[in-house]
């Protein structure tokens, strides 16, 4: 780890001004930043400590939905009764993330902004496309954990499991920068490598992700998040799926739905194709299966990750049925 200083700004405006400077990196929960520092993937001269900024704290449920400060810890999200009841997918995703020890440190903002887990990206000696090199080593290398959708020229998968759940429930991010603030739908916040392989999102230098806002769920909406992993105690997901399904009680006709996949693409991957399969129809196992198939219609597996196609189909189907409260046959 290189030597650095830690500055604590008095307020958000000064934090933004500091973060606009070269070699300044934000420090919040620290989990990903400390990892990247130890690997030498970042070597900032200055860390800007965001933990004393009141705007970044707090969980506020209300009639207009839910506000999650960016510094909210994952364990707080996982345990909050209001989130569990109204935004179940978000609660489940936070509960599935990492370990108890990490959930006590890691923040919502850090989960959304963490860098990819790709072993080429995290390797200190590999200068891959994401680090300014000339190629994505996953394309011809060891790629069993890489993208089947939206890949190229980089084939990382986005590591956040909270993001798909938040997007399924229509979240937006409030961002404050040196020249003011903006609100962006979380779905549009993430950036494909075809736009710029060096970043995963649209956060500009000097910008601070202040909070995530969730609207009230649509009437009759329920949500769920499921993930498949190699190790059950804790692991990164091989594939994850978040689903929001709003349906009429008796007929089970789906009025609104969102299906968002985790760990299959370089961004949280919303599947309008899958949503189309269930919106306007009475939901049953067959409809859910069709939606699962639709999720992977445009998939392009690499040499070692075709298993993710079958896994995605099944997981999407199960998550849709779970959200709708339908027992699988």
């Amino acid at each position: 780890m290189n030597r650095f200083e830690v500055l604590t700004p008095a307020d958000l405006a000064h934090a933004a001004r500091l973060l606009a400077r070269q070699g300044h990196v934000a420090l919040a929960g620290g989990v990903d930043v400390i990892d990247l520092l130890k690997l030498g993937i970042i070597a900032p001269a200055t860390l800007v400590n965001l933990k004393n900024l009141p705007e970044l704290h707090g969980i506020e449920p209300g009639p207009r939905g839910l506000r999650l400060g960016a510094l909210t810890k994952l364990h707080e999200v996982a345990e909050h009764p209001f989130i569990r009841e109204h935004y179940t997918a978000v609660s489940d995703a936070a509960r599935e993330a990492a370990t108890p020890q990490i959930r006590n440190l890691a923040t919502v903002g850090g989960n959304l902004l963490q860098r990819p887990r790709c072993w080429y990206f995290r390797h200190p000696d590999v200068n891959c496309l994401k680090k300014g090199g000339d190629r994505c080593y996953a394309l011809t290398g060891l790629n069993r954990y890489h993208a089947i959708l939206g890949g190229g020229p980089s084939f990382i998968v986005h590591p956040s499991n909270l993001a798909p759940a938040l997007i399924a429930l229509g979240a937006s991010a409030r961002i404050v920068g040196p020249s003011g603030e903006r609100s962006v739908e979380l779905e549009k916040f993430f950036t494909l490598p075809s736009v710029d392989p060096k970043r995963e999102n649209d956060l500009k230098p000097g910008e601070v992700l202040v909070e995530v806002n969730l609207p009230p769920p649509p009437a009759g909406a329920k949500s769920a998040y499921l993930e498949a992993r190699e190790k059950q105690s804790f692991d990164w997901p091989l594939v994850g799926a978040a689903a929001m399904v709003a349906s009429d009680g008796a007929s089970r006709t789906v009025r609104d739905a969102r299906i968002v996949l985790c760990a299959v693409a370089p961004i949280p991957w919303r599947s309008p194709e899958a949503e189309k399969e269930i919106i306007g129809h009475p939901l049953d196992a067959e409809r859910a299966r069709a939606a699962g198939e639709a999720c992977v219609r445009g998939a392009h597996p690499l040499a070692d990750n075709a298993y993710k196609i079958a896994m995605t189909k099944v997981l999407a189907r199960r998550t849709i049925l779970k959200a709708a409260g339908i027992e699988e046959a």
Binding site: V6, L7, I102, N104
Partner: protein, 215 residues
């Protein structure tokens, strides 16, 4: 056996641990000589809107560990784990993966288990830090510690302090924990010996009150 392990060290012999610590102290001293005194930098920088500027050189910070305020002089890049082990002689907290993946370095911050390798020491200021030494010692066993012994919940023992910290926090927040709960409690603690079934049995025996009288 017991006396060999816990008896006074032979003053002539230099243990591996003492040697490593000595080397660390020399390295730290060298660093300090090259670094200008940090106190001049420590003043708040009001015109820049900065309320605290710390580092890159070593500065003295206060940490509240096991109920006592300790002063430690470290660079900002020093993790809580390194501060505990290399600067404060609290070596019960183990360094293994150094990436938050194995749980051997688990301590409590305000009663909640965290991986101390992923916390900067300066970020632990203002929090109540509890290490395994604060939880129990061989002379001052806790019910959970006694249950670990009784249920043979350690083999090589290297994961045990972290495992115990995770479990102690879980039982404190949920004294009626069931098997699924105690499994989840140590989901972030890796034991390559495979002691988990004994760890679960030890924890569940505490839940059932199997160690009454061992306070």
């Amino acid at each position: 056996m017991k006396h060999d392990k816990h008896g006074p060290p032979d003053s002539r012999a230099i243990s591996r641990r003492a040697f490593i610590k000595g080397a660390g102290a020399i390295a730290a001293t060298t660093g300090l000589i090259r670094t200008p005194p940090a106190s001049a930098d420590a003043a708040p920088d009001a015109q820049d809107g900065i309320v605290e500027r710390i580092g890159p050189g070593a500065q003295t910070i206060e940490l509240k560990i096991n109920g006592e305020v300790k002063r430690v002089t470290v660079e900002p890049r020093v993790t809580l784990l390194r501060a505990l082990r290399d600067h404060l002689n609290l070596t019960g907290t183990k360094l293994v993966c150094d990436r938050g993946a194995c749980g051997a370095c688990t301590v409590h911050l305000d009663g909640k288990p965290v991986t101390s390798c992923m916390v900067l020491a300066l970020d632990a200021r203002g929090h109540e830090i509890t290490t395994i030494e604060g939880l129990l010692t061989p002379d001052r066993m806790s019910p959970l510690g006694a249950a670990f012994v009784e249920h043979d919940a350690a083999q090589c023992g290297f994961c045990t302090p972290g495992m115990m910290m995770s479990m102690a926090a879980a039982l404190a927040s949920n004294p009626k924990a069931q098997l699924e709960d105690v499994k989840r409690a140590v989901a972030g603690n890796i034991c390559r010996c495979g002691t988990y079934p004994h760890v679960f049995a030890a924890a569940l025996s505490v839940v059932r009150g199997g160690n009454r009288g061992e306070s």
